[in-house]
Amino acid sequence: MDPIYQALVDIAGEEYVSNRPEELYIYSFDLGTAEPCRPHYVISTRTTEHIQNIVRLANKENIPVVPLGGGLSLAGLAVPLKGGILLDLKRMDSIIEVNEKARYAVLECGVSQGQLTAYLERHHPHLTHSEPGAPPSATIVGNAVIHGQGDLAQPYGFNSDLVNGLEVVLPTGEVCHFGSVAIGAGWFTNHPLPDMGLFLGWCGATGIITKVSIRLFPAKKIRGVGTFVVEDEELIPEIIYKLTHTQMAEDIIAFSRAIPPFASGLQHVTVNIAADSDKELEFKQEIIWDDTLGEYIRKGDGGYLGFVRSLERPQISKTSDYKKGGGFEYVGSIMPIDRYPECYRKGREISERHGIPYTVTGRCIGAGHNMMFAWTYAFNRADPATIEQAREALHETDDLVLELGGVIWKPGTYGQKLLLERLDPGTRELMRKVKKLLDPNGIMNPGNWEVD
C-alpha cells in the first residue's frame, strides 16, 4: 500500500481519495486547450483541518498540491503540471453566514455561483452578488482568486475588490485570517488591516483559501437588460464613457460575434438596469436611452433594441457548442476601454485567419476605469487540428494584449511567461521573496507563477 495514499485516506476517508486511473484521467484536464497532466492522487476535502494536514504531508514528502474549485478558469490553472495531489475543494460548500445589514456573505471555498444565487433569491431576496458569466458551477472563491468580474463589475469593480475577508491555509499548514475577522470582529471589512493581496491573483501558488467573506449588494425588485446596437466600433468607448457617467446602469457589456449572422459586424451593448418601481425604471431608461444615447438614435448611428424585464441568472452559455465540439477557450485581458475598437478589429482578424468564427466581448469595470476584453476561440474536442488552431490563436492573442497595452487576465503558463518577462524587476524580486517565504518547498501549484 502506497504510504502517501494511506496518509491521504487517513485524512479524508477512503471514499474521498483516489489514485485510480479514472479519477487521475478526469482530473488531469482543464476544459480548454491546455494539455492534460495527471495528478498522482485526487482528494476531496471537507474541512480546513483536512487541508492543513494535506499540505503538511505534501511538504514532508515534497509533493505538489494543486487546489481545484470549479475548474472553469479555462487557462489550465488547476492542471497538475508537476503531478502531485489534486485537491478538489467543492465539498466545502457551506454558506456560513449572510449578514443582511452589513451586506456580506461568509462562504466556504467550494460554494458555487449558482448555489449562492439560489440561496440569496430564496432567503435574502433583497441581496445579490456580482455573478460572473462563468457556468454556475464555478466557485465564488475561485472567481475571486483569479480576479474575476461579475454582473456588478460596473459599478463595483473586480470580484476580488469585493472581498471583506479570507481564511487561508498557508503552504506550511498554518491557518491565517485577513480582514476584520482576524481580530475577531466579524467579517464585515477587509480594511484597514494589512492586505490580503498575497492570495488573490496568485492562482493557488501561495496558499489555499478556505473561507471568504464576499460583499453583497441591493437586489432591486426589477432587474433587466436593455440592448443598444451600433455598427461602428469606434463609437463604443464614448458610449461606455457616457453610460458610466449617468450612474444609472449596472453591468455594461459590448460584444460582437460572427455567429449568429445578425451579430456579425455589429457591436451590441447590453446595459443592465435595476429599479424598485416602474417610476424608477422609467427614469433610468429615459436618462440612458433618450438623453444619453438619443443622439445616436436620431442620427441613425445606433439603435435601441428594447428592454427585457428579467435577468438570466445564472447565465447559460452555449459557446462550447459553436463547433459542435464541446470546447472553447478565451484570452481575457484587462484593457483600457479606448482600445476596444482595435481589440475588436485585430481579434476578428486573428479568428478569421484561424478559421474560427470570431467572438469578442468587453465588460466595463468600475466607472469605466477599464474593461475585461475577451477573445473566444471554439474548438472541436474530437478534432485535434482544431484544438491546435485554437491554441495558436490564443497565444497570438496573448501577444496582442500586451501589444495593445493591456494586461493578460488569469493567464495560463504561456501568458504568465510573457507577463513575468515584462514585470518590473523590483516587483519580480518581491514576488520571488513572497513565494519563497510562504512556500519554501515550492509545493503549491508548481509550474504557475514561478518567478525563478
Partner: protein
C-alpha cells in the same frame, strides 16, 4: 424586377384619403392627405415618410386597394429615409440569413402547416386539431429558409423582400403542398396581398391559420365545451393585409364559447403592439411605443378581459409579460381552440 402595382389615378379619385386621414398616428385632413400621398407617389419627400410607424393599417383603410403602406416603404427606401437606425436594419437583414444548412425537403402532396420563422413554437401544434397534418419548418436551425421576409417592411427594405421571397416560395413549393396553412398571419398576408401587389407568383394555395382552426373546430364540434372566459384579441399589424379573414376571430370566439369584451381599440381601430416602434429613429419613439402599449393594455383591462388572445409571436413576446403582470393571461389562438376541446394548452415555454 418586381414592381409595385400602385395606380396614382386611384388616389386622385379617392374621396376619403382614408389611408392617411384614418391613421392613428397622424393628425391630417383630407386635402393635406391627398397632397402628401401624391408627393410620395411622385418620389418626393413627405413628413409621412418620416413619421410612419409602420403599423400596416393604411393597407386596410385604403378603399381602393392601392397599397399605400407598400408604397410608403418603397419610397422610404428610395429616398434613404429609413425609419430605423442603420445598425438595426443591418441586424434585421442578417437575422434572416439561414446559416445552419439546408432543410430536408419531403414531398407531401397534401396540406401542410408552415411554421415559417417560428419553429420554436412547434410545441403549440399538437392534439386533435392538428392530427395527421404535416408541419414544415419545424427545425429552428433551418427556419429562415421558410421566412416570408415581410418583417422588412418595418425596415424600409422592400428590396430584400423581393430578392429573397421567390427562393422562399420555391422551398415551400418543393414540399409539393396542396395548400399551405400559414401559422403566422404575416405569411398569409405575404403570399396573398404582398405577392399579388408586386407581381410575385405563388404556386401554392395559402390558407389563413384561423380559417383552418375554424374548419377543424367545426369538424370537432361535438367535443367543444364552452370555455367561458372574457377575452380580448391582440390584432397583429399583418392582419391588415387580410381584413377579409379577420371575421374568423369572432367566429372562433363564438364557437368556443368565450365572450369577446367590448374595447375601444379593436378591429380597424386596433393598436399595434409597438414592438417595431420602440427602436425607430424618430425622436421619442421609445416613449411613444410605451404609451401605445399602455393605452392598449389599459383598454384591455378596462374592458374586463381575463385573457388576451394572440396570433403573432412577436406581439406575444412584446405584450405577453406586460399583460401577465396586470393579471391578464396571454394565450395563443390555437391554445384557446385546444382548451375548447378539452385539451391541455401548451402555453409558452
Amino acid at each position: 424586377m418586381f414592381t409595385l402595382n400602385f395606380d396614382v389615378e386611384k388616389c386622385l379619385c379617392c374621396e376619403t384619403q382614408s389611408c392617411l386621414t384614418r391613421c392613428q398616428y397622424l393628425d391630417i385632413d383630407r386635402d393635406s392627405a391627398q397632397e402628401e400621398i401624391l408627393k410620395i407617389a411622385r418620389g418626393e419627400d413627405s413628413f409621412v415618410l418620416h413619421n410612419c410607424v409602420t403599423c400596416y393599417a393604411c393597407e386596410e383603410y385604403c378603399p381602393m386597394g392601392n397599397h399605400p403602406f407598400f408604397l410608403i416603404v418603397e419610397q422610404q427606401e428610395a429616398l434613404n429615409l429609413l425609419p430605423v437606425p442603420r445598425p438595426l436594419i443591418k441586424r434585421a437583414v442578417n437575422l434572416g440569413v439561414p446559416f445552419r444548412g439546408k432543410p430536408e425537403i419531403a414531398e407531401v402532396n397534401g396540406p401542410v402547416l408552415n411554421m415559417a420563422a417560428f419553429s420554436e413554437l412547434v410545441g403549440l401544434i399538437q392534439g386533435r386539431l392538428f392530427k395527421g397534418l404535416t408541419v414544415i419548418s419545424t427545425d429552428g436551425r433551418k427556419m429562415f429558409h421558410y421566412f416570408c421576409q415581410l418583417m422588412y417592411l418595418h425596415y424600409a427594405k422592400s428590396s430584400v423582400i423581393k430578392e429573397r421571397l421567390p427562393g422562399i416560395i420555391d422551398t415551400i413549393n418543393r414540399h409539393k403542398p396542396t395548400e399551405v396553412i400559414c401559422f403566422h398571419d404575416e405569411c398569409y398576408g405575404t403570399y396573398t396581398s404582398y405577392c399579388s401587389a408586386v407581381g410575385i407568383d405563388v404556386p401554392f394555395k395559402p390558407v389563413h391559420f384561423y380559417d383552418f382552426l375554424y374548419r377543424r373546430l367545426t369538424e370537432l364540434k361535438d367535443a367543444i365545451r364552452p370555455v367561458n372566459l372574457k377575452v380580448a384579441y391582440q390584432r397583429p399589424c399583418s392582419s391588415r393585409l387580410s381584413p377579409d379573414k379577420h371575421h374568423f376571430v369572432r367566429d372562433i370566439f363564438e364557437l368556443v364559447g368565450v365572450e369577446c369584451v367590448e374595447r375601444e381599440y379593436v378591429d380597424e381601430n386596433a393598436l399595434c403592439c409597438a414592438g417595431a416602434i420602440q427602436g425607430q429613429r424618430r425622436e421619442g419613439s421609445r416613449r411613444r411605443a410605451a404609451e401605445i402599449q399602455r393605452k392598449n393594455i389599459e383598454d384591455i383591462k378596462k374592458a374586463g378581459a381575463q385573457t388576451c388572445i394572440f396570433n403573432c409571436p412577436a406581439c406575444y413576446q412584446t405584450l405577453g409579460t406586460m399583460l401577465a403582470r396586470e393579471g391578464i393571461k396571454p394565450m395563443h389562438m390555437s391554445d384557446l381552440c385546444r382548451l375548447a376541446i378539452g385539451e391541455k394548452p401548451t402555453g409558452r415555454r
